[in-house]
Symmetry: C4
Subunit: 217 residues, 4 copies
Amino acid sequence: MSEKRDPAATGETVDSSAGLLGLERVSAFSDGVFAIAITLLVIEIKVPAVEHDLAQALLAKWPSYLGYLVSFIIIGIWWVNHHRLFDGFVRADHLLLLLNLFHLMCIAFIPFTTALLAEYFWHGGADERTAAAIYSGTLLLAALFDNAMWLRGVQAGLLSPEMPASMIPAINRLFALTLLVYAIAVGLAFVLPVISIAICLAIAIYYALPGQRVPVL
Amino acid sequence: MSEKRDPAATGETVDSSAGLLGLERVSAFSDGVFAIAITLLVIEIKVPAVEHDLAQALLAKWPSYLGYLVSFIIIGIWWVNHHRLFDGFVRADHLLLLLNLFHLMCIAFIPFTTALLAEYFWHGGADERTAAAIYSGTLLLAALFDNAMWLRGVQAGLLSPEMPASMIPAINRLFALTLLVYAIAVGLAFVLPVISIAICLAIAIYYALPGQRVPVL
Amino acid sequence: MSEKRDPAATGETVDSSAGLLGLERVSAFSDGVFAIAITLLVIEIKVPAVEHDLAQALLAKWPSYLGYLVSFIIIGIWWVNHHRLFDGFVRADHLLLLLNLFHLMCIAFIPFTTALLAEYFWHGGADERTAAAIYSGTLLLAALFDNAMWLRGVQAGLLSPEMPASMIPAINRLFALTLLVYAIAVGLAFVLPVISIAICLAIAIYYALPGQRVPVL
Amino acid sequence: MSEKRDPAATGETVDSSAGLLGLERVSAFSDGVFAIAITLLVIEIKVPAVEHDLAQALLAKWPSYLGYLVSFIIIGIWWVNHHRLFDGFVRADHLLLLLNLFHLMCIAFIPFTTALLAEYFWHGGADERTAAAIYSGTLLLAALFDNAMWLRGVQAGLLSPEMPASMIPAINRLFALTLLVYAIAVGLAFVLPVISIAICLAIAIYYALPGQRVPVL
């Protein structure tokens, strides 16, 4: 929305540009990283080299397709959430930019964790649990930086004046709950890796459901 | 067109921003995925390692260049169609965003299906048919999500008021026809894989012809 | 420049949006392809796997770095030219979009031709000549589609009314000369491959020089 | 900020568009290259192929993760600096565009130098020193082109009239100091490669600190 609003009408010009860098540029750069990370997922899926029975060889790689599906959904929904978070800000400061950079670092790492998961998923044993822990752990880390951005926004007065103060505790609770569920997913990775990944997907889908979330976030 | 129109003049500001996320951001993100997917096609073409007669080795890889050509045209034209579809909307809702994400997931998968096709094309036998079926099947799936976006737009009242209601049945018919032809292409992949791919290319080219299509779509 | 100009003031709104797709979107999509292609050049440079004497192994790969340098300059300058060409248009039609797609197809192919050149350059013999011919031939093809876009713009009345008609013959001559020099480079690839590549680089640098070119192009 | 400002109000339209290409386009293209380069860092991290003990194999690859972390931070902060530099300009000329292209060439090269560093870091010996020298040397080169852009801006009158002339010597000193420290890092690479990389990271972090820098740069 901020791309469209008339600065002259809202009187936010000064705030928007007072930070280190305009929010829209950071937002556009972040969009680029999300779009590239989501599209790079495919290059981790390799064409099998077989003499015959390609269909069989492709079917055996089902964890790769499942990983592509799950990570595409997760990155796509996180991208929407990232935009909604930034829509709640009127400006950025140095710390917010750094936290955003660390958040993007986690997002851009997902093609690797997805390839790792696809390679070792359904193997059973410690290697599958390791891959699931790294996959869910990267998302937990991304969520931590997301939450840190929000907290920094609240603390440093970067929030839009349009956001009612009464909404802040509700968003805080949602973030705390999200982090708790991600932490459970990481813990479960060492016991039930399939359930761990299912929880990661479920959190993303929950955020994509209409009407179940705090409006602004 | 929506990037250029003056919100104040058309009175659409409220509608445009009332959804989960502004249409332009979704559109820009989708543009990014299309642009990255189309450019990633090249990294599936490997430089042959030969001691001598590079020309011969390169000529032997003609299915790779043909696949690059066909997929570049298909992704490029689908990109135009995606924009025209979104130009018909004034806002997006949660379901539309999810359907768009699944559509992009199919588009971003094309570098893989192209590499698969290039590797197994002209081999004859079951493997070539498998590769052709996956290639055309991914496009059928992309077209299904495209059609679902359109139907959701009609059903949930997301269409631009500028679009005459009389145009809707014509667009519905065009979508149904497109899906039918893609389904035929998938079916033919198991019998005449070359024809299957030719049909996929022909559909894209048909959409690129002037004056043969429903104006808005 | 078209991004900044006020449509209401110039009265070009109708023209700009009357085509298949707004020029700015096509321009932004093309920008994306140029930016991705130029950045993908690096992934063709592989880290050598050596037990000792990395410096020696890296020095032996000098054609890779030279190829990176040359192709980066060429794609970068072509990107500027692409924008200047599009700044001369007020709208696009179907054929222009298709020609642009084929132009981008050549640009996005450059990471492959660069890798090919780096692998077989300085080998001498037929393989080096093959690689040089494919490298310069791709640029010739890109220039042909560039010229076709310009000719289509002139013929179909897509040019900006701000462009003086007297400038058109001069631009035609520049395009003809460019094509001639690229054709000479392709021909020389079969005799003096190093000179062929040097000419490709020289054409790009010539276009980057100030004051030597037709103003609008 | 320049994206939002009203050209009619500031009277900068003529200056902004008088150069070879609008500053915003160059800025957007540069953003794309930065975003792609930062996201491509991940594809240099390969999934290990092990029969058992994945955790051990992953831990052994710690230089890859460290390299990812360091280069992500460096590219991210350089991106912010690039924007701040461009915010100080009101137009670009041919030479500035060329210098920017060479700057981007260094940035886009970082995924390679990072992979090189990750492969040979902690090996000890000449190969580690070679990798560290190439890593820090690429950053020194990038900084040289950055400084050259600034000097060209000052010399050719491309600076924004909003920038007080008194600030120019301070920025010159900051650039000189930065170049000196990068040169020390390159020199140290041949003696203490770990310290050399630490200095490269420290320079980036210094630039990210609030209130320690010349305001406009």
